[in-house]
C-alpha cells in the first residue's frame, strides 16, 4: 500500500476514530492529538501492515495503544459523575453564559435528548475499568467483532468476552440505579432538566416517547434496554451532530470537574 492509498483510507476512518478516542479521553484536544499521532505512527509503520487484519482494525489498534498511554485516560471517573458535575455547573456563574454564547454563535448548539443520552453514556463509561470501557465501545458502538477486538487489544478472546460481559453488567446496574428514563426512582433527571432549559416550549413526556428504551422502560430484559441505548449512541457523531458544540462544551466541563475532583481525592 502506498502512502497516498493509506492516507485516503485513513481519512475514511478518521471521523469514527476521533469519536472513539473522544469517548475514551473526554477531551476534544486529546482526541485530535491522538488521532493525528495515530496517522503519523501508522504512516511510518505502513510497511509492517500485512493485511492479516483489516486496515481499520490495525488503525484502531494503534490508536487504542496511544490512548491507553494517555494520563487522563488512566484516571477513572466515578459513577456519580453527573451529580458531581451538575452541582459544579450550577455553582459556576460562567457556565450558563458560556452556553448562551455557544447557542448564539453556533449552528450546532441545539439540545436534543438523544445527544444527551450519548453524552451521558460517555461519562458513565469512563467509570468502568479502562479495558472494559474500550471493549464495550469497540464492540457496541464501533461494531467490531470479538475476534477483531482481540487483535486491537492483543488479548485473548476469553478476556474480551470477560471485559464485555462485566462492562455490560455494570452499565445496566448503573443506569438502573440512576437513569430516571428507565426507573421512576432513578436519581438522575439531567436530560429532562436540560431539555426544560434549552427547549422550554417542548413537553418532555413527548420527547421521552421518542426514545425507544424510555418507552420500553418496563421491559424485563434490562440488557435489551442497554442495547437500545447503545443504538442511539451508534447513530451520533459527537463532532458533527446538531448539538455537537453544546455537548462538547458540556463534556469538557465534566472532564475538568472530574479531574479536579479526582486530584483532590
Amino acid at each position: 500500500m502506498t502512502n497516498e492509498q493509506f492516507t485516503t483510507e485513513f481519512e475514511k476512518t478518521r471521523p469514527q476514530l476521533k469519536s472513539y478516542i473522544l469517548r475514551i479521553t473526554a477531551s476534544v484536544q486529546d482526541s485530535e492529538d491522538i488521532v493525528q499521532d495515530t496517522y503519523v505512527k501508522a504512516s511510518m509503520k505502513i510497511e509492517e501492515f500485512r493485511g492479516e487484519s483489516s486496515l481499520r482494525t490495525w488503525i484502531f489498534a494503534i490508536a487504542s495503544n496511544l490512548a491507553k498511554d494517555n494520563l487522563r485516560v488512566k484516571k477513572r471517573w466515578t459513577e456519580d459523575v453527573t451529580d458531581i458535575c451538575r452541582e459544579k455547573a450550577l455553582s459556576n456563574p460562567n457556565y450558563f453564559p458560556e452556553i448562551m454564547q455557544i447557542q448564539q454563535s453556533s449552528d450546532h448548539a441545539n439540545f436534543e435528548v438523544k445527544e444527551h443520552i450519548n453524552f451521558c453514556l460517555t461519562c458513565i463509561s469512563k467509570s468502568l475499568p479502562l479495558e472494559q470501557q474500550i471493549c464495550i465501545l469497540l464492540k457496541e458502538v464501533h461494531q467490531f467483532k470479538v475476534s477483531e477486538i482481540t487483535e486491537i487489544l492483543d488479548i485473548t478472546e476469553a478476556m474480551v468476552k470477560y471485559y464485555l460481559h462485566t462492562a455490560r453488567q455494570k452499565m445496566v446496574s448503573i443506569f438502573e440505579g440512576r437513569c430516571a428514563l428507565i426507573n421512576k426512582n432513578g436519581t438522575c433527571h439531567q436530560c429532562s432538566e436540560l431539555n426544560g432549559i434549552f427547549n422550554p416550549k417542548q413537553r418532555f413526556e413527548e420527547e421521552k416517547n421518542k426514545i425507544e428504551f424510555a418507552k420500553k422502560a418496563d421491559h424485563p430484559d434490562r440488557q435489551y434496554l442497554l442495547d437500545l441505548r447503545l443504538e442511539i449512541v451508534r447513530g451520533i457523531d459527537p463532532f458533527n451532530s446538531v448539538g455537537s458544540d453544546l455537548q462538547l462544551h458540556h463534556l469538557e466541563h465534566n472532564r475538568k470537574v472530574m479531574e479536579n475532583f479526582l486530584d483532590k481525592k
Binding site: V146, A158, M159, K161, L164, H165, T166, S173
Partner: protein, 155 residues
C-alpha cells in the same frame, strides 16, 4: 489435599487439629475467563453470592480484606500467597489457607477445584465456633460455573 469428584458437592474431612473442605466442578468455559473472575477483587460481589466484598488487589504478596456471608460482621485479613495466572491462586492467614486450582480437561472444559484447610495446635478449642463451609463452597463453585459459562456463551 483431598481429592473429590467434580460434581459441585463439597466434602469436609475433620481431624483433631484441623478441618479441610474441598470441592471440584467442571466448567464449560475457557480457564482465562474463570481466572479473570477469581482474580478481580472488586467484581466478586456481582457474581458470587457468598462474598459481600473484597478490598485490595489479588496479586502475589498483596493483602486483601474479605467479608463473607459466612460471618458478615467479620473482616478476614488475608494475604495472597501464590498467584499463577490461569492455574493457581492461594490466599490465607495464620490459621489456614484457601487454594484455587484450574486445569483444562481433555474435552476443552475447565476443572475448578477449591480447598480450604484450617487448623493448628489450638484448633480443638475453637473448632465449634467455626461454621461449616460446605454450603458456602457449593454456592461459590456453582456461582462461578454459572457466571463463567454465561460469559463463554456470550456473543
Amino acid at each position: 489435599m483431598t481429592n473429590v469428584a467434580s460434581n459441585g458437592k463439597a466434602i469436609t474431612t475433620k481431624k483433631t487439629f484441623s478441618r479441610e473442605t474441598a470441592i471440584s466442578i467442571d466448567i464449560q468455559a475457557d480457564k482465562h475467563i474463570i481466572w479473570a473472575l477469581l482474580s478481580n477483587a472488586s467484581d466478586y460481589p456481582r457474581w458470587n453470592s457468598t462474598i459481600i466484598s473484597i478490598e485490595g488487589n489479588i496479586e502475589k504478596g498483596e493483602k486483601i480484606r474479605l467479608k463473607s456471608t459466612l460471618d458478615p460482621k467479620r473482616v478476614f485479613k488475608l494475604s495472597v500467597k501464590e498467584f499463577e495466572p490461569g492455574s493457581r491462586l492461594v490466599w490465607g492467614d495464620a490459621m489456614g489457607k484457601r487454594i484455587y486450582t484450574l486445569q483444562t480437561n481433555s474435552i476443552g472444559t475447565t476443572n475448578f477445584s477449591m480447598n480450604e484447610k484450617i487448623g493448628g495446635p489450638m484448633f480443638p478449642l475453637f473448632s465449634k465456633l467455626i461454621p461449616p463451609f460446605d454450603q458456602s463452597f457449593e454456592k461459590f463453585a456453582n456461582d462461578l460455573k454459572s457466571e463463567a459459562e454465561s460469559i463463554q456463551n456470550s456473543k
